[in-house]
Symmetry: none
DNA sequence: CTTTTTTTTCATGAATTTTTCATTTTTGTT
DNA sequence: AACAAAAATGAAAAATTCATGAAAAAAAAG
């Protein structure tokens, strides 16, 4: 399940920049330009992390943070123009998980979002596209270390299920169930054969690393970014 | 239990500043001026968080981070003079929980330590389950005293059944039934052999305690927390 | 219908895990 | 203290499990 990030920021230019960076990295995003409607929004839909501008026109960011924290435990990253040490400490003290000062790099912000979510949601916090993989769902393509992979149908399905949950160990049965449409019951090392082919293609891109881990007697998993 | 913070920093002035700030805020601290001895140190004593300078004289911080993360799940905060955006992104990508650029405010660093620990350890204390064990079902992984165990299939199954019911005494037959898929009727000290292997691996992590209790003539159980 | 690609199956050898077994150590009881 | 039963231990044997290469079988493309 792709993490949903709520961006609370009144300057459209900044909000858009953040949104673009996060979506490029595989997150789902939503923008709110005012602080007051946030609680309603949280009550209605799922949200995994909030990026909160402190200088909102309608309500003080610190106050809003307190209000949110009174009801929710979800992580909050403060965004602000105030670089004062005191502000930063107070911000973190008050319960923020991170504190980013403007002007900031969108890529760094996205990386910080991922760092916080890694702790909060565990393996589920990864957006599609970890371990050097990026899934382009629309084009049905997978990129590995910047290189487009030429994959057959089941190779794609298999690799996709791995990428969507990096680190999770899948049994062969489980993989069959996830990557094959009909419950193809026969399983005489079929998965193994495909894994072998995938590995060969990944090796062609990056010869010294094998991101697929074999768990003897259990199944396979994809290496998480370390 | 006071959290223990390991500071890995080669400049004494900076290390002392950090130490002072953290101890003022109630943390226990320890300073290491080199990177290589870190793994030994981790094997010996408890540590809840690492502050890691990237520019160490003996080993690259990123490499060290990977080495630590291969065995431990504890949070790491990077400390560095490099303000480059690329470095920051890579640092967070690689598994750091936060990334602080020099020069920095000691009070802010301490606040960030608290923010990370709040997520990692909960409001107070360790996240550990029974007797220091944590089961990560998705990753098919068991952590013992913060250390990732390398277990074979049946070692994993066996230890898992113990952890799920701490204190309960299981007969060998019962363990066979629970941890083996087919009712493997053979029972010639098979369980004993696996228990032996598990104990050896636990001993490698914590030499002075054996959390597995033998009940003569009956079976085995896992020590409960007090 | 033929050719090509993909998927599945199979056999082999190597590596690891599991099991067995003989021996030593521990434990509880007389 | 001595004894017997049970468990720990170390090492060898047996059994799995997996990677690999290659050959069928099936599906897709031309």
């Amino acid at each position: 399940m792709t993490p949903v990030i709520l961006i609370i920021e009144d300057e459209p230019a900044i909000a858009d920049t953040i949104q673009y960076a996060l979506e490029t990295d595989g997150f789902e995003t939503q923008i709110l330009s005012l602080g007051r409607p946030v609680l309603e929004r949280l009550a209605e839909n799922r949200c995994d992390l909030i990026i909160l501008d402190i200088g909102l026109p309608d309500i003080n960011g610190m106050e809003l943070c307190k209000l949110i924290r009174a009801q929710y435990t979800l992580p909050i990253i403060f965004l602000t123009a105030r670089a004062d040490e005191v502000d930063r400490v107070v911000g973190l003290e008050i319960g923020a998980d991170d504190y980013v000062v403007k002007p900031f790099s969108p890529r760094e912000l996205s990386a910080r979002v991922r760092a916080v979510l890694r702790r909060t949601m565990g393996p589920a916090g990864h957006p599609a596209g970890a371990s050097g993989f990026i899934i382009d769902t629309a084009r049905h393509r997978i990129t590995y270390c910047g290189r487009i992979l030429d994959l057959s149908k089941y190779e794609f399905n298999l690799l996709e299920t791995f990428i969507r949950r990096p680190g999770q160990v899948f049994s062969r049965d489980h993989l069959m169930a996830l990557a094959w449409e009909d419950p193809c019951c026969s399983m005489d090392r079929t998965v193994d054969a495909h894994i072998k082919n995938i590995r060969a293609k990944l090796k062609a891109v990056s010869p010294d690393t094998d991101p697929i881990i074999t768990h003897r007697g259990v199944g396979y998993s994809l290496k998480e970014d370390l």
